[in-house]
Amino acid sequence: MSANGQAASDGVTRPAWRDEGSSRIPSAVYTDRSIYDRELERIFYGPHWSYVGLEIEVPEAGCFKRTSVGERSVIMIRNRKGEINVLENRCAHRAMRFCQERTGQVKTLVCPYHQWNYNHDGKLLGVPFRNGVKGNGGMPDDFRLEDNGLNRLQVAVRNGVVFACFDSAVEPLEDYLGEDILASFDRTFDGRELVLLGYSRQRIPGNWKLMMENIKDPYHPGLLHTWFVTFGLWRADNDSRLRMDRHHRHAAMISRRSSQVTGNVAEGVTSFRANMTLNEPLLLDIVHEPWWGDDTVCMTTVFPNVIFQQQVNSLSTRQIIPAGPGSFDFVWTHFGFADDDAEMTERRLRQANLFGPAGFVSADDGEVIEFSQDGLVQDKAFATMCELDGRGVGPTEHMVTETLIRGMYRYWREVMEL
């Protein structure tokens, strides 16, 4: 039980919401262990699709990548038919998390402890000494290989992007995303072949939802991030629109870069630097790509664990791996397209200086999340204030709003029953 709520008979703290709405989020939602454990059960291991990777990361049969869904370690692996499986990295014998390499290629998956051996579909192929040795020992008569495979998750692959779910009751991915979010997903992932550029990994000492909030918050980029304001990449006066799925758990923030700054946006915004210019203009050498249309930015948050980023020529997936209520790992996978020429690849890599653990417009996001968590931990009786543009939830044609955050918590309250 925390200072901010009652533990009910189920042992889960009841956060002290001020009302039925979702505009004031109590500290316990970010800091309480019993609430976090319910999030793992109902959200990460419940009927929600989690991003696990890109198909190009496992190009051939037997190629695998180890990652996580919630706190559970999983292996994304391609089988001989070319299909993708996601298997839990937990041996069916005595639980060992047997896969320790991050990537590789294997004929079969072997747990080194007692050499139980699984195929690419997670089926148990054999176990040593099954029939005993010299008539001694061995498995009981009712032992069946079929009963002892690896835990195999539901998998959905769409245009090269792989999602997985522990819960077999999960709806099809397309329904899960809904029409508007699917449209922003398909805008980037339209079936073109992708190219992997590399990874960045950071551990951020804050609750995982603070990262979702950060990318559902179009209020801050034009204030916190000098580069965004000064170079017009993301500013309150840019043409933009915000979209959600019908449950309000996912969102798309779509916007257009502008070169003209309107007066009241520059006024009073201390991060705007009228005279700032780049010594190396190549850092913002933006080249329009036909698939963008008029929009230069599209940030899609897919609940619960991924953000799809298109910021001008920089493309990435950002995966959230929660690690307790107060910490998560943030894994960036940068990519391009197979038909990019060398110049475009170089441009994507150069613009990656803006994004990632050291990025000009994202290093500070990790910092503000850390200090937000500190504030929530220090005042257990606090509730945050997300009332820019009112207390309701709905799509907008502007970005002076916290509606997407309210939307996520409206859904969170439903699914968590808290």
Binding site: S200, G366, E370, F371
Partner: protein, 158 residues
């Protein structure tokens, strides 16, 4: 060019001065450690070993490095911290192109306010060193770090 004792000394001095510059927080002086077309790159070992081109920071040429310095000193919000570099002895070779190839282990400690020092970044410098205007400079400096996870953010150069 051959690796005379004088040259080895000069290289050791370069590393000592580089670390001192960063540890003292004299970031404005940092780009001058590079040749005009120098390449500074901080890259996860995971990417480096697999030939994946993504870097955490990749700056080509001194002007881009100057932009980074402006970024860390005046645009990126972050908690203040000190860095302390411990740099090992360089393994040196003179390459066919007459530049010096150096690989050097490093460890960087980070100390935030109200906190004990922590191991922040551990890796290897893989460098190319050349003369520019009679001074040794980095033509290429790759900071290839072993620790998979960056503890939150990376602001200052390594």
């Amino acid at each position: 060019m051959s690796l005379t004792p004088d040259l080895r000394h000069a290289v050791a001095d370069l590393y000592a001065a580089y670390a001192a510059c960063l540890d003292d927080g004299r970031y404005e002086e940092w780009p001058a450690f590079f040749t005009a077309d120098g390449w500074y790159r901080v890259v996860a070992r995971e990417n480096f070993d697999r030939d994946l081109p993504l870097s955490v920071i990749s700056l080509k040429g001194r002007p881009m490095m100057v932009d980074r310095v402006v970024g860390i000193t005046s645009t990126i919000f972050h908690a203040p911290y000190y860095q302390r570099h411990i740099v090992g002895l360089p393994v040196l070779a003179v390459a066919d192109d007459a530049t010096i190839h150096a690989s050097v282990n490093y460890a960087v400690f980070r100390t935030k306010r109200d906190m004990a020092a922590e191991i922040y970044n551990v890796g290897q410098y893989i460098d190319k060193i050349d003369f520019e205007d009679g001074k040794l400079k980095f033509k290429k400096k790759f900071c290839v770090y072993d620790n998979d996870l960056i503890p939150n953010s990376m602001i200052y150069p390594i």
